[in-house]
Chain length 204, copies 2
DNA sequence: GCATATTTTCGACCGACGGTCAAGTATTTT
DNA sequence: AAAATACTTGACCGTCGGTCGAAAATATGC
């Protein structure tokens, strides 16, 4: 049985992201943690960036796969409700207190490089799923957008952007107002009924 | 007459950003271009990041200052119109074909670090101006937002984010639809009359 | 099973970069 | 004019991403 070196590298990188400060995530550290030589890392990946990006992408893909396996196929859940669950799973992925959660850690430290990768990956991996849900919502009659692709893009971008709390005021009232505004923005994008996204700011 | 070393460093950095590939913007290059020793650069700035950030911030501040000097004080222009002109000046700053334009260059190359700095600076420098314009629009009766601060934040964030074209589809129809959607989003944020932001996608 | 070709592994090494520092020089203060 | 302070400098440092040639492992052909 051949050990999959790529998998070793993924695992090592994920662990480092979870436990170490960003500056400790060096290619040497990844190689050491994976128990292989540095040269081998570069045998499987062209660059460090490629590793990080692959790890982030993998994480989003995992979330999407889980969504399709566990939520999407359940016919009793409406499209809007599924969208809510999808958002929750992403928000939870980003901000859960679970220390093991990678994307959470990634989003918390200030490195803009990784941050950007997360944003790009979010758009590319999540937006198509939202688009799919929009077609279903349109079929159900709860969504009336004429441009599902663009709406999905804008929605995911807006949500992702605002999940990045680092650059905004943390004042609770400001944050509440901001989320109210964003839920209205979502309604506008989807042409959905007023209140469809109240769950974004109504804590429970 | 004492030459202002800080100004020399700013100038050199701006020139490098305008003319060179990102990887050529090193502290050594800045020092060389400014005609001073590398140590002197670190006498005036704590880090390279601090230099880049200061340059970007300066650029936005300059745009804001120009806005207040040339546009804002003219009483015959409505708040919504002023907002349009402000957006135009920023868009132009980001995307003009003028090769001398720094922010343009900065936004074009892929470095996410600088990209992020630009976004943060945009929020911090431009959002307060938009907020100010919102109060004026409210006084004029064209804007009915109850939460001007949050609306300004969201508007600037959305616009800035989508000015970053790099991560989105370049298909003209998709781009048009996206901008239409964004203009609707802006109306929603400001509670302004329908069509107030049509100029965002109606080329002229 | 042996020889040959191919794939995989490795860490010493490289060049570049951001940042430091001791040693100076200019300027101000007393 | 002496002492103190502010400024300037480039050689030097540690670190990091990435390279490379050679060795080890594995596959292929006969």
């Amino acid at each position: 049985m051949k050990t999959d070196k790529k998998e070793l590298i993924f695992k090592a990188t994920e662990e480092l992201i979870s436990e170490a400060a960003y500056n400790d995530i060096t290619v040497d550290a990844i190689a050491k943690k994976a128990g292989i030589g540095k040269g081998s890392v570069y045998y499987y990946f062209k660059s460090k960036d490629e590793i990080i990006y692959a790890v982030v992408e993998r994480s989003y893909r995992r979330a999407v796969r889980d969504f399709f396996e566990n939520i999407h196929k359940r016919p009793e859940i409406s499209a809007l409700e599924k969208m809510k669950l999808l958002f929750y799973s992403i928000i939870k992925q980003d901000y859960s207190n679970n220390e093991k959660n990678m994307l959470h850690k990634l989003n918390l430290h200030e490195d803009p490089d990784i941050h950007h990768k997360i944003n790009v990956a979010a758009i590319q991996e999540i937006a198509p799923v939202v688009e799919q849900l929009m077609y279903e919502g349109i079929a159900e009659g709860t969504i009336h957008s004429q441009t599902p692709k663009e709406s999905a893009e804008v929605i995911v971008a807006v949500l992702t952007y605002f999940l990045d709390r680092s650059m905004y005021s943390e004042d609770p009232q400001v944050m509440l107002n901001r989320m109210k505004l964003i839920s209205e923005v979502m309604e506008t994008c989807l042409k959905a009924e007023k209140g469809s996204f109240d769950y974004l700011y109504k804590l429970n």
